[in-house]
Structures are given as C-alpha cells and as structure tokens.
C-alpha cells in the first residue's frame, strides 16, 4: 500500500468513489436545469424546492398509500413533474416574451412558497425514510465498504443522464427540441406543437429534480430546506460547466463531486467553498464555462 500526501491510496480510492456518488446528485440536478434552460431560457430557481418535493412525495407515498421506494421512484417524479406542467401553464408561459430574469424571480418566489408550505405542514426537523430492504447492506471492495444503495445511486444516475443525453442529442425528438430552441417559428411550420413541447420539457426537467429527491431521501435528511442550500452549489456547477451542452452538465456534475470529495479529505473546512473557488477561476480563464458557448 502506498501513500499520497499522507493518505493511504486505498482510502483515497474510497474517497474518489464517494465523490463520484455525491457528483451523481450534482449531475442529475444540473442536467435538469440545463434541459429547462435549453428549452425555456429560464433558470429554474425552484429546482431545489422541486427536488425536496420529490423526497417528500416519496415519504407521503410510503406513509399514506404504503408504496415503497421502487414505486415511488417512478410515481414521485411523475407527480412532481405534473405540478411542473401546471406551473408552466399557470405562470411561466406568460414570461417568455419578457426579460429572462423575470423567470428567475418568479421561480424564486415559487421556491419560497413551496418551502414555506412544506415547513408549515411537516415542521423543519425532517421526516424519516430508510434505505429499501433490497438495497440494504453493502460489499467490501477491498479498499472500502461500499453500501449497495450508493452503488445503485451511481448506476441509476448514470443511466438517467446518458439516456437523457441520448434522447436529446441523438434522436428525432431531440432534434425537434434543439431546433425549437433555435427557431421556434420554423419548427412550428413543420406542424409541431411547440408550446406543448415546451410545457413537457419543463415537466421533464422538474421530474428529473424529483427523481434526484427520491434518490436522496434514504441517505440525506428529508427536510423542507434540503433543496435551498444545495441549489446554490448546483448553480455554481452550472456556471462552471456552461449551459452549452447536456454532456457538459453531466461531466461537470460528476467531476465537481469528485473534487469536492477530495477536498473533504485534504482540507475539509473548505469543502463547501471549493466549488465556488473553482467557479471564480473558470470565470477568469474561460468566462463561457468549460462547455459553454459565449452568451
């Protein structure tokens, strides 16, 4: 066994893996933001609140209809995604002709409302949710003990990220989507219902956030404020990656998870600021972000 900077390499492998798991959440969330931004040109400030809604939906499903983790993983995103569709129809659709910042302000207001209501009904301490039976326990990888649930997080997150990327970049539907962001009038001329496409895209982005929320429920505190702290870090991830590409959001998400994980070993006090520092450096060197186009 050799050592790197005083830390045994085996421990370092473990930390690397943990960073990757943490990055899964960044990737899922920044992916949702990127999808919404790409279509609607709105930065969805309520993304954190919708992530929280996903976790709460999982709890409520278990509590009131006895539906466990696996059904929740499908149903919760659908439910929360449906609320996203309503939000888009009720509020967001009136803002497309205005300055993009209005979208940010509106979704910020929505985030406050969602968080406030959740706190009124469920209190601030949080709700219990345990790891599903089928994923309890873990295996010894030699260099670390890997809980099964964490392994599942990586697999699920990678699967979702890659399929999303595939749909948007490699299929006909994705081609329409991308075309509609560039030139909605032209796409409409092909007989495609662009407003509906926009609505569904927002719903999908929100569902991604809710999916991340369900994934988080068994391992992180399920509380009304779970999203609002996280979302700011995800914003920094998004600035670093640039909104240019779906792939960019995914790669930066995982990458920054790893970097943050490493910081937790070598300089834990800075593990929450390291992403912001990287953001500052990236802005100095590549203002458009690592994968972004200037704009």
């Amino acid at each position: 066994m050799f050592e790197i900077l005083g830390i045994p390499s085996s421990a370092l492998f473990g930390q690397l893996l943990i960073g990757l798991i943490n990055g899964s959440f960044y990737a899922l969330l920044s992916l949702g933001l990127a999808v919404i931004f790409g279509m609607l040109n709105i930065i969805n400030f309520s993304h954190g609140a919708q992530y929280m809604l996903g976790a709460f939906a999982a709890y409520l499903l278990l509590q009131y209809s006895g539906l466990g983790y696996w059904p929740a993983l499908v149903i919760a995103p659908l439910l929360v995604g449906a609320t996203g569709v309503i939000v888009e129809r009720l509020f967001l659709q009136w803002l497309y002709k205005l300055d993009h910042l209005y979208g940010l302000l509106l979704t910020f207001g929505l985030a406050l409302i969602i968080e406030g209501v959740a706190r009124n009904y469920f209190g601030s301490a949080g709700l219990p949710y345990i790891v599903p039976e089928s994923l309890q326990g873990g295996r010894n990888l030699g260099f670390m003990f890997l809980p099964n649930y964490r392994a599942w997080v990586i697999v699920a997150s990678l699967t979702i990220c890659i399929s999303t990327w595939f749909v948007i970049e490699r299929t006909r539907l994705g081609a329409y989507l991308r075309a509609a962001t560039e030139n909605p009038t032209l796409v409409r001329a092909f007989g495609i219902n662009v407003p509906r496409m926009i609505t569904l895209t927002y719903g999908f982005g929100v569902a991604l956030a809710a999916f991340a929320g369900v994934m988080a429920a068994p391992i992180y505190n399920v509380s009304p404020q779970m999203g609002s702290e996280l979302i700011i870090v995800v914003f920094a991830v998004v600035v670093i990656g640039g909104m240019g590409s779906i792939l960019g959001a995914i790669v930066t998400g995982f990458g920054l998870g790893v970097i943050e994980g490493m910081t937790k070993v070598f300089f834990p006090e800075a593990s929450n600021t390291v992403i912001f520092v990287i953001m500052a450096i990236v802005l100095l060197v590549r203002p458009a972000g690592l994968f972004g186009r200037r704009g």
Binding site: A125, I130, P147, I219, N221, V265
Partner: protein
C-alpha cells in the same frame, strides 16, 4: 390547522377577577422561531406550553391576571431585537421567554437588562448567557452547550466509551461543543483520537465517516446540530458504523431530530436532555394536555417547550411573592432566592449567574423492536445530578459571580 395567537392578545382572566383587591397583572411574550429552523423545538409548541402554565397558575392564584402574546423572530437577530424592544416599550410586556437561536437570545438578553425586564431563556444553547455575557435580568432555564457537552462526554467515558472521534461543525457553536466535550472526555480519562471539521450544512458525510471509522474510536461525537447531525447519522447507518461497534454521541439532539431519523436509523445514538416526556407520570399527563392544546396528537413536546412551562411558572410565583412585575431585577432576584418546584422539572434552584440547576439525563435511542408506542424513543442510561450537570460557577467568568 395550527393556530398562532400572535399579537392578538389572549387574556386568561380569572373568572372571579376583581373579587380580590390585590390583583396582579403580568404580560408575557413568547418570542420564538415559528417559521424557520427551530420551529419544531420551540415555536407554536412553546406557546402551547406557556398557555398551560398560565392556566395552571391562574387556577391556583385567581388574583393574578396574565396576558400572553407571541411573536416570530424568524431566526433574525434584528427582528428579534426590534420585537423585544417594541414589546417592552409599547406593549408593556414584563417577561420574554423561550427564544431559540443564540444570536437572538444574546441580543434580547441585553435589551432586557437595559430596560430592566425579565428574560427567561429556554430555547437557546449558548452557555455565554450565564458566562461572560450574564446579567441580572436573564435566567437560563433548560440547557446549554456546556451541560450537553459535559453530560454526554463524562457519562459516556464512565460507561466505557473512552476513545472519541469528533465530527465538528466548523463554526463558533461547533467549536464550543467540541472544546467542552473534549475537556470532559480527557478529564475523565478518555482519549480523543482525532477530529474533522466539516462545513455547516454538509449533505454528504460519508467521506468524514470513513475517516472516523478508520480512527477505530469507540465513540463518534457529533459536535453539530439539526440537518448535519441527521445527515451524519443517516450515512453512519448506511456505512454500518453502528453495526461495526462504534457509537454516535449527539451533542445537541432533540426528540424532533430522532423523530426525523426514525428509530431504525437512530438506534444506539446517545444524547443528553434535561427533560423527556416519557420519564414519569407527571410528564406523560402534561404531554397529553400539551398535545390537546397544540392540536397535534402525534407530536411530542421537547425539553425546550417543557422549560417554557416550568420557567414561566416559577416566574409567576416570584411575581406574586413581590406583588409586582415592574422591577425586572427584583423579580429575578426573587426567582434566585426561592427554590424552584414544578410538575415537570421537579425541585431545583437558580444560581447567582442566572443558571437554572436541575438533573440531566443521558439517554440512548431504542431499537425499533424495543419501542412499544409512538414517541417511545429513549432508554435512560444515567442520571447526572443537578450539582454536576452544569458548568461550575467559577469557570463561567460571569461578572456577577465574582463580584
């Protein structure tokens, strides 16, 4: 639907008011966090506790009229301070009680001193309130950081938990908890094998837990609070920390946190509290009334809320003895002079520095199989007598204690 009284005043007037010529009128303000992080440990539950205290007291003392108002400081020291000032100056409030969040509590403590009113702290943890920042108008009731740190540290070392690793929230509060616990551990012959300082609101603790695991310490001390504590314990259950023989010691954990974790995850966690609803019949009976008043049958009162009841009761007793609530310093002096005695905290006393003294309990969270009914969270591991539970007077650096 929970109802907050707010500034609308509740007048708990005795039915036979006026029959006695010597009527005393008192106005009490519950200043708490109703909408933010600490709303579960204080908040509407504290208001309910205050109402019960007033109801009980006026029943026994019909010549006392107590008005109650409540307000939400929203965890913002400036709002808390503004409210306190306005209550004292305009609303003519005599006593402010509860007030979680040490920033708000320290600010209100000063105002109470300057305006010669009374401040009974139940919700805030800062031991500075009876330390360097003590004053003649403030009584610190339920608990403080020193007591939590010392209680948990000492009792665990004595029962075999003699090697420690700390996960410390990296700011003043966490540092204080860590420092005080370390002192208690080392003084009692334990050893601190290592520590890691994590930022506030860390989501993922697995990395820190691997470091704690590698240290082979018997006890992992959590010098943090709220969401951080919950995240750490959740990750710990997942990584098999407790199954591997290590134990978590929560240095600031409330029943609401245990509820948020669920017993499955929290089992084996050790913590210190000064009041637990299921400790005896008196507490259980009070809890029933509290649940009815609160309109929340599934919720259980925290020690902070019980402290509001107990503190308010003792305050009212002292006011009656003086027949006036106007001179805050005199009331507090009277409170310190008389021994305390109430249904929830039993017999106790208040020290010259404003510290209320009562026993503390080292509790361990039950496994799901041991828990027989909702709210059946803890088993009692040890009782720390009142004279050992709190920081010795001489160590507090309170100016009132030295001269």
């Amino acid at each position: 639907m929970r109802k907050i009284l707010g500034l609308a005043t509740l007048v708990v007037a005795s039915a036979c008011g006026g029959a006695n010529a010597q009527q005393v009128t008192v106005k009490v303000g519950v200043l708490s966090d109703m909408s933010s992080l600490y709303s579960d440990i204080g908040g509407a539950g504290s208001v309910a506790a205050a109402k019960l205290a007033i109801a009980d007291f006026t029943k026994a003392n019909p010549n006392v009229k107590v008005e109650l108002i409540s307000g939400d400081h929203q965890n913002k020291p400036d709002i808390g301070l503004q409210l306190a000032n306005q209550w004292y100056d305009v609303e003519k409030v005599d006593l402010i009680i509860d007030t979680p969040n040490s920033g708000v509590a320290l600010a209100v403590s000063q105002t109470s001193n300057a305006k010669n009113k009374v401040f009974v702290v139940s919700g805030a943890a800062a031991s500075d309130l009876t330390g360097p920042k003590c004053n003649a108008n403030t009584v610190h009731w339920t608990y403080d950081t020193w007591m939590l740190a010392n209680g948990t540290g000492k009792a665990l070392v004595k029962t075999g938990g003699d090697t420690w690793f700390f996960l410390t929230s990296d700011y003043a509060f966490g540092h204080a908890l860590e420092r005080d616990t370390m002192a208690a551990v080392e003084k009692n012959g334990g050893k601190v094998l290592g520590k890691v300082r994590h930022p506030l609101n860390t989501n993922d603790f697995s990395s820190f837990l691997l470091q704690a695991q590698a240290s082979k310490a018997k006890i992992i001390g959590l010098a943090n609070a709220g969401g951080d504590t919950i995240n750490a314990i959740k990750a710990g259950a997942e990584f098999g920390i407790v199954k591997g023989g290590q134990k978590f010691a929560g240095l600031l954990v409330f029943a609401s946190d245990v509820n948020a974790l669920g017993l499955q995850t929290a089992q084996g966690l050790t913590l210190t509290e000064t009041w637990y609803w299921d400790m005896n019949d008196a507490n259980r009976a009070w809890t029933k009334r509290w649940q009815a008043e609160r309109g929340a049958p599934g919720k259980f009162p925290t020690m902070v809320q019980a402290g509001v009841y107990s503190g308010l009761t003792h305050y009212l007793k002292s006011v009656v003895a003086l027949k006036s609530a106007t001179d805050g310093k005199a009331v507090v002096a009277q409170m310190k002079k008389t021994p305390t005695d109430d249904a929830l905290f039993g017999k106790g006393s208040i020290r010259v520095d404003g510290r209320k003294l009562h026993p503390a309990y080292l509790l361990e969270v039950k496994a799901p199989s041991e828990s027989k009914y909702p709210g059946d969270f803890y088993k009692l591991r040890a009782t720390i007598p009142a004279d050992e539970a709190f920081r010795p007077l001489k160590d507090g650096n309170c100016p009132m204690a030295t001269g």
